[in-house]
């Protein structure tokens, strides 16, 4: 392959994602403008564009599909309602996360059974409700993955609302501490403290689960 062709191929590889990102941002900005002026078709496009993020985040914070669906609906309704207040220089997804966190907080408050639905840290460890994974050779990776997800979901359920939202934004969504603080309308110090506490609790929960698993074998 001539060296010039190789360079061109490299250039295309580097430039395409940037262009695609710019195009996406531009199209999103246009969609937001149209939706803000009452164009529901444009708003539907925005929903399609962001539904996976919203649904995943609401599920991570609320812990089940039914609540996540209700929360996602409410998030999009609020987005439509307050789209006029959104400024074009703002990060749309940060704004969306702020609304999502607020909606999840409201739903968690409304549904008092939320804390009953999940087991507490100590009770969960004693119950052993989570099936101990069978340590068989050739066990499916998907099963292990599902069990890990359940373990983390149970550990997350033991956290207070704010700690859960902070850890989801920081460790799962990968936002910086400052971004999390902005979304949570809190200080970076407070967010660091919440994240530290959440990581400790999750680690302890996982340790307790694994020690139970070892004892049962």
């Amino acid at each position: 392959m001539p060296s010039g062709a190789h360079e061109m191929a490299l250039a295309v590889e580097i430039l395409l994602p940037v262009n695609a990102l710019t195009q996406t941002q531009t199209s999103l900005t246009r969609l937001i403008e149209r939706a803000a002026s009452g164009d529901t078709a444009a708003f539907e496009q925005i929903m399609i564009h962001s539904q996976h993020r919203v649904m995943a985040m609401t599920w991570r914070i609320l812990g089940n599909e039914a609540d996540a669906r209700d929360a996602s609906q409410e998030v999009f309704l609020r987005v439509y309602k307050y789209l006029g207040r959104f400024k074009q220089d703002q990060d749309f997804f940060a704004w969306l996360y702020t609304i999502t966190v607020n909606v999840c907080r409201d739903i968690a408050k409304k549904r008092q059974h939320h804390s009953d639905r999940f087991t507490s840290l100590a009770a969960g460890a004693d119950e052993g409700a989570l099936a101990v994974p069978a340590d068989q050779e050739g066990a499916e990776e998907a099963l292990i993955h599902t069990q890990q997800r359940e373990l983390i979901a149970r550990a997350m359920a033991t956290l207070p609302d704010k700690e859960r939202a902070s850890i989801v934004l920081r460790d799962v969504e990968g936002l910086s501490t400052d971004e999390v603080a902005r979304i949570m309308k809190s200080s970076s110090t407070t967010v660091r403290s919440q994240i530290s506490s959440a990581r400790k609790k999750i680690k302890i929960y996982c340790e307790q689960y694994l020690s139970r698993k070892e004892r049962s074998q």
């Binding site: 529901t40 979901a153 530290s196």
Partner: protein
Amino acid sequence: MNCKQIQELLPLYVGRDLKESRVKLVTAHVQSCAECAGAADEYRETRQLLQQFAPPPFSEAVYAGIRQQVLRKIGREATAPGLARLFESLFRPRLRWAVATALLLAVCVSAFYLISNRRNDRQVADSGRTVDRPTSIKESEGLPPASTVKNRGPVQGLAGLTHQPKRKRIGGAPDRSATVNSTDTQPMTAQTLPDGRSEPDAGPAREPATSGKTLRVEMQTADPNIRIIWFTPQATKQDSPNKFSKGI
């Protein structure tokens, strides 16, 4: 730093949420302490699990259902009857309106309180004057008693004098009688009846003058330093001889 202090920092250390200066301290400690290094590894594993914490895959039907619900609600709100929307907007709780209403109520209550207090003060001041002053003023000025004046007939000559621009009050009492007894501003146009008694002129000045137990009549003479003040008992329906006083 000891192990306990380091282990407090480990949750933030593994997520790179510590300041550079502390990161160096923790790194140095972890390299030399097996226990803390093990704890750091456990935190890293937990964090990795967290990063893989993905929801179960939701079908496209779930997302489509959410979108339809949202669009339906938006459409319903857009086509909601105008009256219902008006009511909704009127009764929607708004902080600004609540604060404004609370302020308005506070202003109204304080104004009512001040006005009622001022009225009480006036009543107290007037009753004080009624009790203390009459005899001494009349006697000091050498004026005839009220009964004598009553029989003299019309007092129209004095009426115009009530509009003197400035009056000096005897005893230096605050000049508040003008608003209580409107006889100061109303010309006294009492007329003599055929039987020799005075007939009061009808007018708005009558009501405040007869509302108290004692009737107070003030007349300003040509001398700004002299004012004639009359105090007579309040007239009742049976007291026809007091009609003159009642009318002023």
